[in-house]
Symmetry: C2
Subunit: 419 residues, 2 copies
């Protein structure tokens, strides 16, 4: 629903998103292995919480409330209760209410939505953080942890890599319905890497990948699923990254903006933040994201906007097919045309509707709980001309974020505007 | 802060809280072992979600928003993303926003707080659920899971049973500061069991425990900690139960009350719902619950109430010392006098300030995410004369809930009134 009290994003902070193939990620073949360690969940959380306060020039004691978006800290880091962990970042947070919210990969978006609610409830300065560490276990264990975003007892068995298989299933259904070749998704992948190569915070900032490489199965780009019927429908390059990282934004009421030391002039308004859920374990149509479409419909209807008003988008490309389906759910094109947008360049940095300008989940990376917060912060940065080498030529004024959890079973669609 | 839009509890539902020593709990020596299974997390969640709708006579489609309080479904049940799992309870929930919130043992209280915010943000009928299943792993594994409520990397090593040890530490500090014998806590324990014996939904409904039994170490009531210095300060009977269970309430705005088929006449107002956090891993004084005291101060100050106005209380007796400390933090007595309240009968069903009338976490049980929701539902039931054998002689009009997470690092204090 449309906020009664105006809500703005006043500033924020982000860490680099790192993991395998990122030059700073410490692993057994890294020269600093055994000497340095990757940042912990707590370090990332504190860094962005304090960084966001610093960005808007406030003492942490000015914050009325805080939220933490996180999916599975309990598993990768043996740590829950992240609200109280956030509160430990600074003595100014003593007795400030912090709440962790979770909705699988939509945890960050739900944290934004909770922050918007907090302002409706009377808070004036709200800190919304998102954080995840996922590199502490190997890929197979990690895939098992992430399968908790699905209906575990019913869906875990589809493949050791449950979620890749679930989106291979969507790719198969989509390609068969519309007569599209899976290689049509390669343009989406290549755009993600190309954008990430311009983004110093991106997980894949140093990895180049051409459309042709993404379209072909190879030793470096295998079809890796055990599930034989789904195996041909997904390559490694179709997947988002297993990343560590954090992001935070400061949300303000108009009264809150007056408390800031800086940043009020950069404020970007949140016109709508709509959440929708569908039943876990039940997807009515693999070729559509019905839950994201419902959230988008709700967000558009309460602002009077439609897809034609959108000048930039952050969408949840957890897999290449997801970006196509999200573009359709958000109304950027008709059903079945989502792959053409990237192929035609419409979603590139130079196109009419740039999508995932910093590289998205495939290129920028996907520290799960951070993603939904990062999407909002990315639009804020594009609207303020802060994106450096991937800055759009004309800073956009209106944008949309779509952050999705599980197999499109929770979705958060946020509409932002800078006047 | 005090809600601008009036919020009421219109009704709810609860499952029995079950686990070891409950006659219906299926384990290897139960006659139905191998024939029947204990209810799953999903079953409990759906049961209370639908039960609460039924209790107020609404179709689930009438619900504007939903929340799920849960601590560690990812560990005990391999299941996260419980918002979307709740949405699967009924087709009427399709595209309804559901969010899971977590703050360790305060997860349920945070779900209530989120529901209050939702109504401030414009929702009229909000379903707040809390659920936990903890009996799927053995006690030592379970203790490791629950240690995620503490600062795991710094505090896990205190004892294999981390939380019992942390509260033994509080008992030790308290007893030494005030010259109290640990046996002084036995009156709190005996009251919990006595109340639970009157409560058909209580985990310990069939287990009797006298004050003398609670005061003495025995084969049935051992000091069980490995940590030698803390071992003497905690007996098994000082601990809350490892329970499975769920609870849900329907929160309404005044407009929402008009949508109900029944229950509006039973509505209990939430005058305040205050959340406070303290830094995880840092407790300034083991003899005080400073975070709960801060939340209580905030709640009292925005209503103009004080402790003398309270006629019934639900406090977070995760251990016997916790009830004493909570009574002090809520202002029912001075610091150091918390154990006397139970010893003198002040907190009994017949006393001036009945505390945990259904048995509390020690007697009623402690399915972690459900607890904070259950507290609110218990007060609603006492205020409406629905508590059967443990109903207070005069239905109370004003009450307080205090739901705490970790070592008092998140606390939610809620003030309720029925006119």
């Amino acid at each position: 629903m449309k906020p009664n009290r105006r809500v703005t994003v006043a500033g924020g902070a982000i860490t680099p998103f790192i993991g395998k193939f990122h030059p700073d990620f410490i692993w057994k073949k890294h020269p600093d292995f055994g000497v340095k360690e990757n940042p912990s969940l707590e370090q990332l959380l504190h860094r962005v919480a304090l960084g966001a306060c610093q960005d808007v020039g406030i003492d942490p004691a000015v914050v009325d409330r805080g939220y933490v978006g996180n999916f599975v800290g309990e598993l990768f880091c043996h740590q829950g209760h992240l609200g109280a962990m956030a509160a430990a970042a600074h003595q100014g947070f003593l007795h400030t209410p912090f709440t962790r919210v979770e909705g699988a990969c939509a945890s960050g978006g739900l944290a934004i939505a909770a922050g918007v609610d907090a302002i409706q409830a009377g808070a004036d300065v709200v800190l919304v953080t998102g954080v995840e560490v996922q590199t502490t276990y190997n890929a197979k264990d990690g895939a098992d942890f992430l399968a908790r975003a699905a209906h575990y007892s019913q869906e875990r068995s589809i493949d050791p890599f449950t979620f890749p298989a679930m989106f291979a299933r969507r790719t198969q259904a989509y390609c068969q319905k519309y007569g599209v070749a899976p290689a049509a998704l390669a343009a989406i992948v290549a755009k993600a890497y190309s954008n990430a190569n311009r983004n110093p915070n991106a997980h894949m900032r140093s990895v180049t990948l051409t459309e042709q490489q993404a379209a072909e199965t190879s030793d470096n780009n295998p079809c890796f699923l055990d599930n034989e019927s789904l195996n041909p429908w997904l390559r490694l390059s179709d997947c988002s990254q297993v990343s560590d990282g954090g992001c935070a934004v400061i949300l303000c009421s108009d009264e809150g903006l007056q408390r800031l030391g800086q940043g009020a002039d950069r404020a970007v308004e949140i016109h709508a933040c709509a959440v929708s859920c569908g039943p876990l374990g039940q997807v009515p149509d693999y070729t559509r994201m019905d839950v994201t479409a419902a959230a988008a419909s709700s967000a558009y209807s309460c602002t009077g906007w439609n897809a034609k008003d959108i000048q930039v988008a952050e969408v949840h490309d957890c897999f290449s097919i997801s970006e196509a389906l999200m573009c359709e759910a958000l109304g950027f094109c008709n059903d079945g045309e989502g792959t053409q947008l990237a192929a035609e360049g419409a979603t590139s940095l130079q196109g009419p509707i740039p999508v995932n300008t910093g590289g998205g989940l495939m290129g920028f990376g996907h520290p799960v709980g951070a993603t939904g917060v990062k999407q909002v912060y990315e639009l804020y940065r594009q609207m303020n001309g802060l994106c450096g080498d991937y800055q759009l030529a004309t800073s956009p004024q209106r944008g949309v974020c779509a952050n999705m959890g599980g197999d499109d079973r929770t979705s958060v669609v946020t509409l932002l505007e800078k006047n």
